[in-house]
Amino acid sequence: MIHSLFLINHSGDIFLEKHWKSVISRSVCDYFFEAREKAVDPENVPPVLQTPHHYLISIYRGKLFFLSVIQTEVAPLFVIEFLHRVADTIQDYFGECSEGIIKDNIVTVYELLEEMLDNGFPLATESNVLKEMIRPPTILRSVVNTLTGSSNVGDTLPTGQLSNVPWRRAGVKYTNNEAYFDVIEEIDAILDKSGTTVFAEIQGVIEACVRLTGMPDLTLSFMNPRLLDDVSFHPCVRFKRWESERVLSFIPPDGNFTLMNYHVSSQNLVAIPVYVKQSISFFETGPCGRLDITIGPKQTMGKTVENMMVTIHMPKAVLNANLTATQGTYTYDLTTKVLVWDIGKLNPQKLPNLRGSLSTQVGVPKPEDNPSLNIDLKIQQLAISGLKVSRLDMYGEKYKPFKGVKYLTKAGKFQVRT
């Protein structure tokens, strides 16, 4: 299984290594660096590489490469999924997953890695179990630690691994019992030049934050569960109940977790909240081009569209942009050739517009490909698919919890072709 793990930063330095079996020399990473050179972008490095004696499987997260060394046949997704779980755990513990953070907490990270794998096979990957063994650092605790000299290693042993519900730790106690659910939907869409939808679907996720005492057994039901085309669950959800009654029945983990992911199929009509009128053209003669973009609300169900943002990857030949925006600000990054127009709130009375000229390199033929527009937006208090949570019931405990559901619609991979 997984033999070793190397963490490599953007400039190619190995700053952490962990071996679960015998030690493998760092030189094995040279093959990876070679591939990294060859691929222009870090995203284009093949995730699986073959070297004479080992296989290298890597992921790219937060400007870091997590590179694992494999010696024998193993499902590549198994390794990739595990590496992402490592990154998630680090993020969960320290708030972010970056080189600086890992270097600051190198001992904790090392201990985490030690607990997560045994002989290369995953042992404890549930964050509730891990947190019982190795407590995450908090500001208060770090002050206490410097004073008393104790560390973050929990002195209890992981009882969670023994229970029937390994994702929940035992003996949870809160004074305020709360359960919050965020229904977040992302619209993935491709619109073509004329504004017609080439492809659109909705990807949703229910993020939960549950702080309840004891062993609560929750049931979450929807007004319209038929909408959901495809779902995937946290292991705590009882699949049988979903199959038969279309309700989510589960004993929740403690704290934040992703309860379920769902997909509303492209067969259903997807409401596109905004329309975009755009024209980007480059002139045959003279080194310039013209850009004109207007955005207006389309199907917003009466809600305001917020955090509107348009990102355009310009062709290499575009030197500069001289534009005026009726609302918001724009920036053009000369090195990466990315134009960002930050609009903010969309006002239906006065549609935001960005227009002006683009100057291109002299002597280079005009770029013939038109860049596509990537759109970002947020709509509070709306699930664009129309999904509604009808009720949340709790069994097994006596107290009354405070319950809350929040809806949010975002643009996922929302692209307008030109």
């Binding site: 699986v48 109940r241 992911n261 038109n370």
Partner: protein
């Protein structure tokens, strides 16, 4: 600092050392100083010392031995977690001398009562195996033992060990197959991946190909059918004769019936498609792809498409697998065509893979949308991707005849593209397309000939020249002119172009020697003095071949045939063709090369091996007197199988059992007539108890089940018995003992129960029922958690005298500690509404090593909700709970036939 007395200093030192290790710096000099601290009391220091030890023990074997005794002590610790961690570190120390110690430790841990320790033992097996492969045989024994384990905790780890140590010993799986299938859903996700992959291989060796009929139907001709249809007698005869014929022939006549175990596997893995873990989803997908009947494979498409929303690395792997699947099963992904549309923000490697999938999915109906989509891709800024798109268009054109012309026209338009790479790629693809039907397209060739002036990419130039040469008869006027131009620029061309110029010259010379003779001579002369020996060689060879001299041999006569032979058009194939001989989702499949340790996916067997090997023997309960009659045994086994199938999601039963079943059991006690349905409930109730007590030994579980079955039988039988008896002995008052002879076919224990029966109208006084010998003891408090105090309870099935509505619970307290326990009593009883408890009298003193008994009563209110309370001693409090199996909530009631009918009418 390590020698310091203060733990905080030691800890600081250890932290620095571990940080050094993490950064990859050598810290081995400190080994002796660190090892000293292995017995340190501070658990934090201890953990860090373990980390250090595991890392450096291999390099400093002698010194590492100093620490072994600490771990050996740890292996005997009463706390299961300490036992487990000691075993884990001990087995991680890669020192060959301690192999025997490890072996011993593993063997002991494998029969530990804690499933967590057993899991650690399973983890230790591959470690030991990699250290000393000679231990294989002994390890296999341990694996065999652990495979029989019934807990979900162990299953994943032991299958992992199985895969690493003895993947060829498929016979070990037989007995555990059904259990693994049933446990699968509750195993932790990483274990699921390993088990599913293993079961895929297993199923390939044990079951028949579910698609065998279809493949035969495709082959089978109509003639066969009419023959069989015309004369059935003859058909039968033939069947007799051909009984020993090979399996496929039999399958043709007998409709294929899927082995129930095969079905079980498919059914139990299906819910896992909803897992959040991509690796699990992929594992199930490959299982379905390799094992499911064609009609059912479709279910995996949706889940795989979902994974495309995940991280780009996951997408990369999934797309590779989808690409392979689309070649075999195109229809499966067709509805999801649009999910493979490409966004400009995808990384190039993802774009290329999506393109591959789109190309594979193209057919007559969707080709127009796909081509329209391709058109937008061609405008992309990512030139590698554009090149790949052009290739894809070429492949669509070759595969689908209808659109060939459209594609060709589109590609020709691309020839006027400004980007040279695009043009070059188009030329290469057009060349391949034209080879299929050159006659119609002489104008395209002409057009391309003109391009030679502009295009600089060598590959494209070479392609054009080859085309002109090959089809020079279609463009008789242009060809010599092109050659003239080329001759002029010959010296400046790339090698690959030069070779094609020579080819062109040779071909023209053969077809149109009048115009081109001099030009050819010139080109060949130039080539003769070229720097590249390949070109010089080629020139010499061609000159000898085509220019007739007196010496030239027989070959030159055939020169024309040699050069202008019809060449077969190239077939544009997907690079993913035939990749499916590797197990999908495996590393080998991804690399398209066999990785170390890859287990081949075996072909389907021609005839199914004996399915009975998977039958698990029903261990006859030791306590059941005499033998269980054959018919009961069979039916109970069948029942069991059914039930297991119905209830794959164990954890469900706990949560649900309460509210849903309480209603049923209520009606039960109200009317005995429904005892049939009630007993079924009791079955499921006992199941939920089992799932709680995973660590309970197998025998007990089986006993329990068996018992329930019997009880069910009993209850079902009772009214029937009575009726029968009444009709048989209408006048006899028939006191109970006389019944026995009639019941000989029932088990003896049943008989003893029936002894209590009387046929009088009065309800049998419950006191006459002798406590059944098969009472099951449940554990309330374990010796270890209770710090020496262990408590067991059983439902004594005696009436609880203070309150008839209460169930009597017989408790047995054993004091295993060295000191006396005082004041044992109950406190803080937590109950569901309606439930009541009569506490047992306080036990004043329980001396060490003694046992005491007490009876308490609980009114469960006909529900299976647990009664929670605290068990208090003079020093400690323990939280415990009692949950009744439904069967224990019932009380036998006896009715006459008339009463029975009356009750039946009412309910």
């Amino acid at each position: 600092m390590l020698d310091s007395n203060k733990d905080s200093l030691k800890l600081e030192a250890m932290k620095r050392i571990v940080a050094m290790i993490a950064r990859g710096k050598n810290a081995s000099d400190l080994f002796p100083a660190v090892v000293k601290n292995v017995a340190c009391k501070n658990i934090e220091v201890k953990k860090l010392v373990y980390v250090y030890l595991v890392r450096y023990a291999e390099e400093q074997q002698d010194l590492a031995l100093l620490s072994i005794s600490t771990f050996q002590r740890g292996l005997k610790d009463p706390n299961q977690l300490i036992r487990a961690s000691a075993l884990r570190v001990l087995s991680s120390i890669r020192v060959t001398i301690i192999v025997p110690i490890m072996m011993l430790a593993i063997k002991e841990a494998a029969s530990d009562m804690s499933p967590y320790v057993r899991k650690t033992a399973a983890h230790a097996i591959p470690k030991l195996y990699s250290l000393d492969p000679e231990q294989k045989d002994q390890l296999i024994e341990v694996i065999e033992k652990l495979l029989a384990d019934k807990t979900t905790l162990v299953a994943g780890s032991v299958v992992m060990a199985f895969e690493e140590v003895c993947p060829e010993r498929i016979d070990l799986i037989h007995k555990n197959y059904r259990k693994l299938c049933n446990l699968l859903i509750d195993v932790e996700e990483w274990g699921q991946v390993v088990i599913i992959n293993m079961l895929t291989r297993y199923a390939r060796t044990q079951f028949l190909n579910p698609n065998i009929n279809e493949s035969l139907l495709e082959e089978g001709s109509g003639g066969d059918k009419t023959f069989y249809g015309s004369d059935e007698d003859e058909d039968e005869d033939e069947e007799e004769k051909e009984k020993n014929a090979e399996a496929p022939a039999m399958a043709k006549r007998k409709p294929y019936v899927m082995d129930p175990d095969h079905r079980l596997l498919l059914r139990n893995t299906k819910p896992l498609l909803q897992s959040r873990n991509a690796a699990v989803v992929m594992a199930v997908a490959q299982l379905y792809f390799h094992l499911a009947p064609k009609a059912e494979v479709g279910v995996i498409a949706k889940a795989l498409v979902r994974l495309l929303r995940s991280h780009s690395e996951v997408q990369y792997v999934v797309l590779q697998n989808v690409a392979t699947m689309t070649i075999k099963r195109r229809g499966m992904f067709e509805p999801y065509l649009k999910s493979f549309y490409i966004r400009s923000t995808d990384p190039t490697q993802i774009k290329v893979l999506k393109l591959e999938v789109l190309t594979n999915l193209a057919n007559e109906t969707n080709i127009s949308t796909i081509l329209r989509e391709f058109q937008t891709y061609i405008k992309s800024m990512d030139k590698d991707f554009v090149a790949a798109t052009i290739q894809a268009i070429g492949r669509c054109a070759t595969n689908i005849g209808e659109v060939r012309d459209t594609c060709l026209n589109g590609l020709v338009q691309l020839l006027s593209n400004r980007d040279e790479l695009v043009v070059a790629e188009s030329v290469v693809v057009i060349k391949k397309l034209l080879q299929m039907q050159p006659e119609k397209h002489s104008d395209i060739i002409k057009h391309m000939a003109k391009l030679t002036d502009n295009i600089q990419v060598p590959m494209a130039r070479a392609s054009i020249l080859w085309l002109i040469g090959e089809y020079c008869e279609h463009v008789p006027k242009i060809a010599p002119d092109v050659l003239r131009k080329m001759a002029k620029s010959f010296t400046n061309e790339e090698d690959i172009v030069k070779l094609q110029i020579i080819n062109l010259a040779a071909k023209l010379y053969l077809t149109n020697s009048k115009q081109t003779k001099l030009l050819t001579q010139y080109v060949l002369n130039l080539a003769k003095y070229d720097q590249n020996y390949d070109i010089r060689d080629r020139a010499r060879f061609i000159r000898q071949l085509i220019v007739p001299t007196e010496k030239s041999g027989a070959l030159s006569k055939y020169a024309k045939k040699l050069f202008l032979a019809l060449k077969p058009a190239p077939v544009l194939e997907s690079p993913f063709k035939d990749r499916d001989h590797f197990q999908l989702g495996s590393l080998s499949h991804l690399l398209n090369a066999k990785a170390g340790g890859y287990q081949e996916l075996p072909d389907w067997p021609e005839a199914a091996p004996d399915p009975s090997v998977r039958n698990v023997e029903v261990k006859d309960s030791v306590r059941a007197v005499g033998t269980v009659p054959e018919w009961t045994k069979c039916s109970s086994r069948e029942k069991r199988k059914e039930k297991k199938v119905e209830k794959p999601f164990y954890s469900d039963s706990e949560g649900e059992s309460g509210p849903t079943e309480s209603a049923d059991s209520e009606s039960d006690s109200a009317s005995g007539s429904e005892s049939g349905s009630g007993s079924e409930e009791s079955g499921s109730g006992s199941e939920s108890v089992e799932s709680e007590e995973g660590s309970e030994s197998e025998e007990e579980e089986e006993d329990e089940e068996e018992k329930n079955k019997k009880k069910k039988k009993k209850e079902l039988k009772k009214p029937v018995q009575e009726i029968k008896l009444l009709s048989l002995f209408p006048v006899e008052p028939a006191p109970s003992p006389q019944v026995t002879p009639v019941n000989t076919f029932l088990s003896n224990s049943l008989v003893t129960d029936l002894e209590g029966l009387s046929l009088s109208d009065t309800v049998l006084s419950p006191a006459t029922i002798a406590p059944s010998s098969a009472l099951k003891n449940y554990e309330l408090l374990h010796r270890i958690t209770g710090e020496g105090l262990s408590v067991e309870y059983c439902f004594s099935r005696q009436p609880f005298s203070p309150d008839a509505n209460m169930v009597a619970v017989q408790m047995q307290f054993t004091n295993n500690a060295t000191s006396d326990t005082k004041n044992l009593h109950m406190e803080d009883v937590k109950l569901q509404s309606g439930m009541r408890v009569k506490e047992f009298p306080e036990i004043e003193l329980l001396p060490a090593g003694e046992t005491a008994a007490a009876v308490m009563g609980i009114d469960f209110c006909d529900s299976t909700q647990a009664a929670n309370f605290q068990l208090c001693t003079h020093t400690k409090k323990f939280f415990v709970s009692i949950q009744p199996p439904v069967g224990e909530l019932m009380r036998p009631i006896f009715l006459t036939e008339n009463e029975f009918k009356k009750e039946q009418g009412e309910s």
